[in-house]
């Protein structure tokens, strides 16, 4: 571990918003805005190194100590339960984890419910709490077509505006949990780089209030 603070940012639009929060918090890195394919950017003066990673991998980088802190969606934290500190709700990338079904679907509690999802653990925990017997069908994308093609009865997925659901003739039936981006920290980094992490935490808390 170097003394530089290593920050894993999620690639994409959310990552850009998150970076501007870090910039406002006093940890700028102008080279990150250059239009190129580089993935690692550092500003030794500010003592910070940023890297872009796939959003679902941010928590792994932080848990394993390759990154000291990072920004991950609550969906990823609930699904993979990485051993990290969840320091702050950044209130960015707000959406919800929901159960959706075709408009004409009628749930029969006497039958095992077939649930297609990318988030098997979240779906299992939700239905276990309801005492409902389900059959999980794990998919990696295009979850919305599963009920249309008869692969599943319902889906559990992230809903932002609901447009994709509507266009595929699906309705939200239940909201499982609200989702947003969270600032996370590696356990050991929190001890050994405490001053920098606390500074970022305080600045970002003030910015997101």
């Amino acid at each position: 571990m170097s003394n530089m603070l290593n920050v894993a940012l999620p690639k994409g639009r959310l990552g850009e918003k998150v970076y501007s929060l870090f910039e406002q918090a006093g940890f700028p890195c102008p080279s990150i805005k250059e239009n190129n394919r580089k993935l690692i950017f550092e500003n030794p003066e500010a003592g910070v190194r940023y890297f872009w990673v796939k959003p679902s991998d941010v928590a792994i980088y932080v848990e394993r100590g390759a990154a000291d802190i990072g920004v991950a969606g609550k969906d990823i934290l609930l699904e993979y339960r990485p051993q990290v500190y969840e320091l702050l709700d950044l209130k960015l990338g707000k959406c919800r984890m929901a159960v959706a079904a075709p408009k004409d679907f009628r749930d029969d509690p006497a039958r095992t419910l077939r649930v297609a999802t990318k988030f098997s653990r979240i779906a299992s925990d939700y239905y276990a709490a309801l005492g409902r017997d389900i059959d999980i069908i794990h998919l990696n994308g295009s979850i919305e077509i599963a009920p249309i093609l008869g692969l599943s009865d319902v889906i559990v997925d992230i809903v932002e505006t609901g447009t994709t659901l509507k266009e595929n003739n699906l309705d939200v039936r239940e909201t499982i949990v609200p989702i947003s981006a969270r600032l996370i920290a590696n356990h050991a980094a929190f001890k050994f780089k405490n001053e920098s992490i606390e500074k970022i935490l305080q600045q970002m808390a003030a910015l997101t209030e």
């Binding site: 100590g65 500190y85 969840e86 356990h187 405490n194």
Partner: protein, 358 residues
């Protein structure tokens, strides 16, 4: 490196009167079924012994030591161990053989024993790496505050405390008095040395709970004042343990260069009660398997010196050259450079002389 640390901690524990404890690799599965939640991972490798008994490859050491402990009023039994345990690794999601060293202090334990075990935990971390931190908490504080929450929210709140997740914790505190909510959220945001944190904790908690646990923390940590180990100690109330087994002090140790804790321990009087003992206990384990990652960062090569010699050279002179180089670091004597062997310096032995290769 692991062997060096193991030797150092064994010698340390022995100096404080802890006796070595050796045990079998196997234990009856029944012991773990009754205390499954105490285990770090609830998956256990089992097999049926020749007599039909269901046995387990030991996933934990503490339960076996308690089972074989003896109680004597007013006394404590002090033992240390270094054993392999078999459990699912959090990171790899598969069974791993994990080398673990640690100690247990069982019996009529008092504040001195709590101090002694904390001291040995801090010294164990120092033996691993000079840059280390021992995070200490007291379950008496967190549990007293959690008792103000509705019963159905307490487990989720415990998870939030462990994650330093004040935003979710605040939501779970809905319905509690503002003072309790602020105390709980303040508790997990408070981190630092005992001198920085204990006065803040006292002020934060004075109106919402009995401050006896803070007073105990102060008593137990007082002997560290002025010692070099004081720099290692931090108060971190996000260190939590299962309240069905642990009570009082709980702690975790970290060393710079490793992403997660390498030491974990606490006072487990409640576990003792669950297995029919009337006395208390405190102990900790050091996870030695992770330390090889420190070794990787320490060396960028396989050997310090690769010494090349020619067939038929003077054997006595060669032996002396190797012995001299070995005093300064590792040395590998070879006739040719082996594929993939990395070294810091390359030297030749020729005509009774060692010369650097250019």
């Amino acid at each position: 490196m692991t062997e060096r640390i193991l030797a150092a901690v064994r010698e340390l524990y022995g100096r404080y009167g802890y006796l070595p404890y050796k045990m079998s690799k196997f234990e009856e599965y029944d012991l773990y079924v009754r205390n499954k939640d105490f285990l770090i991972s609830d998956s256990v490798i089992t097999f049926t012994d020749t007599n039909g008994k269901l046995m387990a490859l030991k996933p934990d050491v503490t339960l076996s030591i308690i089972k074989n402990s003896r109680e004597q009023a007013g006394c404590v039994q002090k033992v240390y161990y270094s054993e392999n345990v078999y459990r699912v690794s959090n990171a790899a999601h598969c069974f791993k053989e994990i080398l673990q060293a640690g100690l247990e202090c069982m019996g009529d334990i008092d504040d001195y024993h709590l101090y002694e075990v904390l001291r040995l935990a801090a010294e164990s971390l120092r033996a691993i790496a000079p840059d280390c931190v021992l995070d200490i908490s007291h379950l008496g504080i967190t549990e007293a505050l959690l008792n103000n929450l509705p019963a159905e929210n307490r487990e989720a709140a415990r998870v939030c405390i462990g994650e330093k997740n004040a935003h979710e914790l605040r939501r779970l505190c809905e319905g509690c008095s503002p003072a309790v909510t602020e105390a709980l959220c303040g508790l997990i945001s408070t981190y630092g040395t005992p001198a920085q944190v204990l006065p803040r904790l006292k002020a934060l908690l004075a109106d919402v709970m009995d401050t006896a646990p803070i007073a105990q923390l102060e008593r137990v940590l007082a002997p560290f004042a002025g010692s070099d180990l004081c720099d290692v100690l931090r108060i971190d109330c996000s260190v939590v343990g299962d309240s069905r087994y642990y009570n009082g002090l709980v702690f975790k140790g970290f060393v710079k260069g490793l992403p997660d804790s390498v030491l974990s321990g606490g006072q487990y009087d409640k576990l003792m009660q669950r297995v029919g003992r009337s006395s208390g206990a405190v102990g900790f384990a050091v996870y030695l398997d992770e330390l090889e990652r420190l070794e990787q960062t320490a060396h960028g090569y396989d050997v310090d010196t690769l010494l090349l010699y020619e067939a038929g050279c003077d054997l006595v002179g060669l032996q002396q050259a190797v012995a001299t180089l070995a005093k300064e670091g590792s040395v590998s004597a070879q006739q040719q450079i082996p594929d993939k062997l990395t070294y810091r310096q390359l030297v030749h032995y020729k005509n009774g002389e060692v010369t650097p290769c250019v």
